[in-house]
Symmetry: C2
Subunit: 264 residues, 2 copies
């Protein structure tokens, strides 16, 4: 049986140095070239005409134009399963007497007996240099369908292990970026606003999830209140995202630690 641990092999060929567009790459956390880079966009919106869809489409277009290879996991269109259940393990359980999802999926990962939908997503993550999450904020977090992607795909053995977590997380060669839309306007997401600083709600996602798995986290792309914006303002938000994508590979990840979230 195929050993899923092979997915962890760093065997993929890196883009050759001579493709560098900057003569002196500042640090090994930022990529100096884009051509040949692989991007996975995990996307959660029900409506192809939505603002979130536009942001996703712009990212596909811009990154493809750069020569990146872009894959989209369109979670609603896929009918992605968010529930973490026994069905996720196709073989026998190590302890059928008392089902422990974390323990069993860790074992199943090692034995290659995770369900095929999880394996398919893990393969996409493994191949990606950058994972972008595109979603509307639901209750200060990702929609449940995307939470389910995190719960099921980022299992022990694949995304982290003990003690391979945080800076040693198994996905530490990769970048991640949250691109989200909010219901409320920007002023509500400030320290003085009713919703508090928008960085507060990013903590469980960026630190507790992405950083835990080792991802280097790029600054979030927050598009505030597209539903309350004019067509012109919405276009400006899309243009700003497209513009940012042009130099995304030169960005330095954030310092994904408490000061970034709570002391700015």
């Amino acid at each position: 049986m195929h050993d899923k641990r092979l997915l962890l092999s760093p065997g993929r060929t890196a883009a050759p140095e001579h493709q560098a567009t900057t003569p002196n790459p500042r640090e090994n956390l930022s990529f100096s070239t884009m051509a040949g880079k692989k991007v996975l966009i995990v996307y959660a919106h029900q409506e192809p005409r939505s603002f979130n869809a536009t942001l996703k489409n712009v990212a596909v277009e811009e990154l493809s134009k750069q020569g990146c290879s872009v894959t989209v996991s369109d979670l609603y269109a896929m009918g992605f399963e968010p529930r973490a259940t026994r069905i996720d393990i196709t073989g026998s359980l190590s302890n059928p007497e008392s089902f422990n999802y974390g323990v069993e999926t860790h074992e199943a990962f090692k034995k290659g007996t995770l369900s095929s939908d999880i394996v398919a997503e893990q393969k996409k993550v493994q191949e990606a240099d950058l994972v972008i999450f595109q979603f509307p904020l639901y209750w200060f977090s990702v929609p449940a369908i995307m939470k389910g992607w995190m719960d099921r795909v980022l299992c022990q053995g694949f995304a982290f292990d003990i003690p391979e977590f945080y800076d040693s997380g198994l996905l530490k060669k990769k970048l991640a970026l949250l691109s989200l839309t909010t219901g409320g306007v920007a002023s509500m997401y400030t320290k003085a606003g009713a919703n508090g600083d928008f960085r507060y709600f990013l903590w469980p996602l960026q630190h507790g999830t992405l950083h835990f798995c080792g991802f280097k986290v790029l600054a979030p792309q927050v598009s505030f209140a597209p539903e309350y914006s004019s067509e012109e303002e919405r276009k400006a938000m899309v243009a700003s995202w497209a513009q940012r994508l042009k130099s995304l590979w030169q960005e330095k990840p954030i310092q994904c630690l408490p000061p970034w979230y709570f002391e700015q």
Copy 2:
């Protein structure tokens, strides 16, 4: 067609004052009596022999003993649907050209055309004086199946409206409490620990979700690392929860604002 707005009517009879067990109830946010109170436990664990199941069972037993009426929504056993989709609206859409989940469920709530599983959960919430969420922490948050419960059940018109949110939220007469288990030990969830203070990850759930809907939030019950604990330690955690439940109705809600989360 039944107007779901009736669910918002404050017509339910309150427990008569003479049942008070304390002569001078300190404030109207805390309940002075328990008999006759209604409790909903929203529970997310796959395994009836799990530690989470034990905590849930103890709550059912203790609260029932007090004379409370307890309802459990066992999400995995119910096969609860976490995905927010078109299926949640049984009638026609107000804008079929571009599906907007928030707008359409708000309209469907008003018209009484939400799917029956959502209506059933809303009825349980509407009847409850206290909602307890019992879950294992998944990625610094609730498991996707419980996130889906929040995404789908707490819709506009039912749980909040504009401007009925936060202290004016439509569920403001109710209490809520998160009872959760962690993977990591307590020392990891401190300001100096790798996971940061456990209050940080509670912000989106307690403030962004529960407080937004008006709930008065009781202090969380955090059972740290049952999997790394001895049988004796686990028993002590269960006993501590059972003990707390005896005087839960006299508790004062927390001040669900940034200082509680970030300045302790």
